[in-house]
């Protein structure tokens, strides 16, 4: 469904991501992990059209995404839940959700059904989004992305800045989505949980894919620990 070929991303003439390949099939859940600055966010931003890759291609169901405007990419069925959530603080929860309604513009029930799935949001439906806690904002960001019934859900560090219990909640939510067959691409710093959750993971370091594997291969791998915490030097 999604294919990245040799993606390079440069900011101000300097390369941050040096040739990343990635393939994703419908229904798969793939993770990207690695320390800060490894390039995970840059890859996601390149996919969603926020930044134009300096090299390589992004293909989505056969369609070339490289160079397309972000709103066009979104309307093709690719939804991003960005790092830091970025819910619209001056809008209410319901209004945040309504933004995603473009796919079925006349459908008044769309927001209602979404609120059913996210009972916490239903409670706060008419409050401004800045009154929500971090975890609630994360749920709102995910719900907002889901309203457009995306074919691919891309999440950039969904557990960032959240308390462990809240992270559990979010991942429960993601697990439900996986069971419903939602295809997901996830970038996380929290390695263990991601390895556990995803079908397979890419480990990024210094703008390149270092390791690539499934749960069994990566879990408990001492090299992975070394990549994060050093030691043995």
């Amino acid at each position: 469904m999604l294919e990245l070929r040799g993606i390079t991303v440069a900011y101000g003439g300097v390369e941050i991501v040096h040739g990343v390949d990635l393939g994703l099939e419908r229904g798969e859940v793939v993770g990207m992990i690695g320390p800060n600055g490894a390039g995970k966010s840059s890859v996601l931003r390149a996919i969603c059209g926020l930044v134009r890759p300096s090299g390589g291609e992004v293909l989505f169901e056969g369609c070339t995404l490289t160079g397309m405007a972000p709103e066009k990419i979104a309307r093709l069925g690719l939804a991003l839940v960005p790092e830091g959530r970025h819910v619209f603080k001056t809008l209410t929860v319901a209004e945040n959700l309504r933004l995603g309604e473009w796919r079925d513009p006349g459908d008044a029930t769309l927001v209602e059904r979404t609120l059913d799935r996210f009972p916490i949001l239903r409670e706060r439906a008419n409050e401004h989004a800045d009154r929500l806690s971090g975890g609630e904002q994360q749920q709102l960001a995910i719900a907002r992305a889901l309203i457009g019934r995306p074919k691919l859900l891309v999440l950039d560090e969904p557990s960032l800045g959240l308390a462990p219990k809240t992270i559990d909640l979010i991942y429960e939510l993601l697990e439900n989505l996986r069971r419903e067959g939602t295809t997901m691409l996830l970038a996380e710093q929290n390695a263990a949980r991601t390895i556990d959750f995803c079908d397979r993971c890419l480990v990024l370091g210094g703008g390149r894919v270092r390791v690539h594997g499934g749960r069994e291969e990566l879990q408990g791998d001492p090299d992975l620990l070394r990549a994060y915490l050093g030691g043995g030097r």
């Binding site: 900011y11 800060n36 600055g37 929500l132 710093q189 929290n190 390695a191 994060y228 915490l229 030691g231």
Partner: protein, 614 residues
């Protein structure tokens, strides 16, 4: 270290001479021409003085002021009133106070008075305006322009009101205009390359980074604004002594747009650009203006009476420039820096010679109460998010402390608080025993606390050497010594080649290291580094460790290192503090921290620790 130069003698000479040569050539063109040609040339030269006034402020600060022609107007009126014979002033401006009305000065004394008066006016007006934001300045200076216009147009008894003044002595010649234009060029260049000019340029390139190096943004803008006001006043005086008549619309909206276009087309950052742009746009302007009354072009096309034709032309030029060539014809470079000139060997910046003696800014070694940077109980929350919940930190001089923790744990926020960019909701900070809570970044830099940034925030248009020198200039070091210090620091960091390259052209790693050099040039007692090793290869990381070790030895400063690159932290820092979820998890030696299950769990999650049986 002596003999360090920011630019080669040849390049400097070319940059200084080129504007003068252009001025001379322009003057020569008009010298033996028809009276109308002479008039045009003189106008161009008078415009040039005003445009140079604009360049001093706009080019160096990157902030647009639309009020500079208000100073030109003030200068013009003052010069006119001072030089008008008493009989005329009695007639046209009956209420003018006697000292001015009776004065019947020559052009030179009146111009000198204008310099002082307009400079003073600019200082007074600039004092409140420069404190406002970068977007509020264009608007408030625009308001100033309209206020000036309004006063001039309505204060009939003193300024002659809307009909203005006539019979002003016409004393400006091509020669005198050329002299003033040449002088103004030199003044503009001297300012641009002065300590104050460099600090201002740093704020243009990156305001946040400039503040971290001790630069007071408001102060530097005010200095340039004052100088700019004086220059524009002189330009106004010159112009009025050419035309002999004056009314409030002479230096108002249309003239503001035209002079701004001259600056932008040439390249706002460059004095040479101001000269080139003025000549180019003035020529087009005068040409179009001559067609406004109706003309026949090449005997084929006939244009009727079209007032405003020149302004349309100027507007189109400005629009085209903003869309296609926003940096102007010179791309902001002085004559000695133009690419085809740089190819000549003599023009290249000379290599930085090896340092001789001790390195670094001399700081007074007054005994401090305690030689630590300490923070207590720092708490910060954004909206409902508690980013820091009561964190303590102690950094001693001469020690390296590593600050690690998962992404989003609050490390950068803590550094922002320590360096004065963020006020905490609770907690206090003390530097060498002095309470510095709430002090600005610039103030802290001057007190000996400097930092680098995750994003490097380079001064893109300045060279490596200039960037680092700004650091020293920011804490008050004179320019020559600052350049020497910069060379020393760059040498110590192994960045000799980068000294002459533009900071914007370096790799991210290079830019980050340059940021470290910049901060070192301030002679810090405490240096906070935000992820200096991000994106570096293993070898580069080792180099960085070696450099930082040398820094510790040479500078004896306290070093706080936020890092994700564990190898760097563990090899450099005998003490490591782990932050997670806004609180301190653990402080200890690298081994202690690495082996602590709570730390492993914070990074990799509980299932990982279970899997490895920790």
């Amino acid at each position: 270290m002596t003999g360090v130069r920011l630019r080669s003698r040849a390049s400097l000479s070319v940059s200084l001479l080129a504007p003068l040569v252009l001025v001379a050539l322009t003057a020569l063109v008009g010298a033996d021409g028809t009276p109308s040609l002479q008039g045009t040339v003189t106008t161009i030269l008078c415009n040039l003085v005003i445009v140079l006034g604009l360049q001093v402020f706009i080019g160096n600060s990157g902030v647009y002021s639309f009020g500079q022609l208000g100073f030109a107007a003030a200068g013009a009126y003052l010069a006119a009133l001072l030089t008008l014979p008493a009989a005329f002033t009695a007639l046209q401006t009956p209420s003018l106070p006697d000292p001015i009305a009776g004065a019947d000065l020559g052009p030179l004394p009146s111009t000198l008075i204008v310099v002082v008066a307009c400079g003073a006016l600019a200082a007074i007006v600039g004092l409140p305006l420069m404190r406002t934001s970068t977007l509020a300045i264009p608007i408030s200076t625009f308001a100033f322009l309209i206020v000036v216009y309004n006063v001039l147009a309505n204060w009939d008894a003193v300024t002659g009101g809307a009909s203005g003044l006539v019979s002003i002595p016409r004393t400006t010649t091509i020669g005198s205009a050329a002299c003033f234009a040449a002088l103004a060029s030199l003044v503009a260049l001297a300012f641009k390359w002065s300590s104050s000019g460099y600090r201002l340029q740093a704020t243009r390139e990156d305001e946040v980074a400039a503040r971290s190096l001790g630069t007071g943004v408001t102060r530097e803008r005010l200095i340039a604004f004052t100088l700019s006001g004086a220059l524009c006043g002189v330009g106004g005086a010159l112009a009025v002594h050419q035309s002999g008549v004056l009314n409030p619309t002479t230096f108002y909206f249309a003239a503001s747009v035209t002079t701004l276009t001259m600056l932008v087309v040439g390249g706002a950052r460059s004095v040479f650009g101001a000269v080139v742009g003025t000549i180019a746009v003035s020529t087009v302007n005068e040409l179009l203006r001559s067609l406004e009354g109706g003309a026949s072009v090449f005997g084929v096309l006939t244009i009727g009476d079209t007032p405003g034709l020149a302004a349309i032309g100027v507007g189109l030029i400005l629009l085209a420039t903003m869309i296609a060539m926003p940096d102007g014809l010179t791309a902001g470079r002085e004559a000695g820096e133009l690419p085809w000139i740089r190819r000549l060997r003599a023009m290249r910046t000379p290599p930085v010679p090896a340092p001789a003696g001790a390195v670094g800014v001399e700081r007074s070694h007054a005994p401090a109460v305690s030689q630590t940077l300490s923070a207590e109980g720092i708490a910060v929350s954004f909206g409902g998010l508690h980013v820091l919940r009561g964190v303590d930190l102690t950094l001693r001089r001469g020690e390296a402390l590593g600050l690690i923790g998962p992404n989003g744990a609050g490390k950068t926020t803590l550094v922002n608080v320590l360096s004065g960019y963020l006020e905490p909701d609770a907690g206090s900070i003390a530097l060498d025993g002095i309470d510095v809570s709430g002090r600005s970044p610039a103030r802290l830099a001057r007190m000996g606390l400097s930092r680098t940034f995750q994003a490097a925030l380079p001064f893109r248009q300045l060279s490596g050497l200039e960037s680092v020198a700004v650091g020293a200039m920011g804490v008050g070091v004179a320019r020559r010594r600052a350049v020497e210090i910069a060379a020393e620091v760059l040498e110590r960091l192994g960045m000799r080649e980068q000294a002459s390259l533009a900071a914007g052209s370096l790799t991210p790693a290079g830019q980050r290291l340059l940021g470290v050099a910049r901060a070192l040039a301030t002679g810090p007692r405490y240096l906070l580094l935000d992820e200096p090793a991000a994106g570096l290869s293993e070898a580069e990381g080792d180099e960085l460790v070696a450099i930082l070790r040398a820094v510790l030895e040479d500078f004896r400063c306290g070093l706080l290192l936020i890092e994700h690159e564990m190898s760097v932290v563990m090899s450099l820092c005998p003490r490591v503090q782990v932050i997670d979820n806004g609180v301190t998890l653990r402080i200890g030696s690298p081994d202690e921290v690495q082996g602590d299950p709570a730390v492993v769990e914070a990074y990799l999650g509980s299932s990982y620790t279970v899997a490895i049986g920790a």
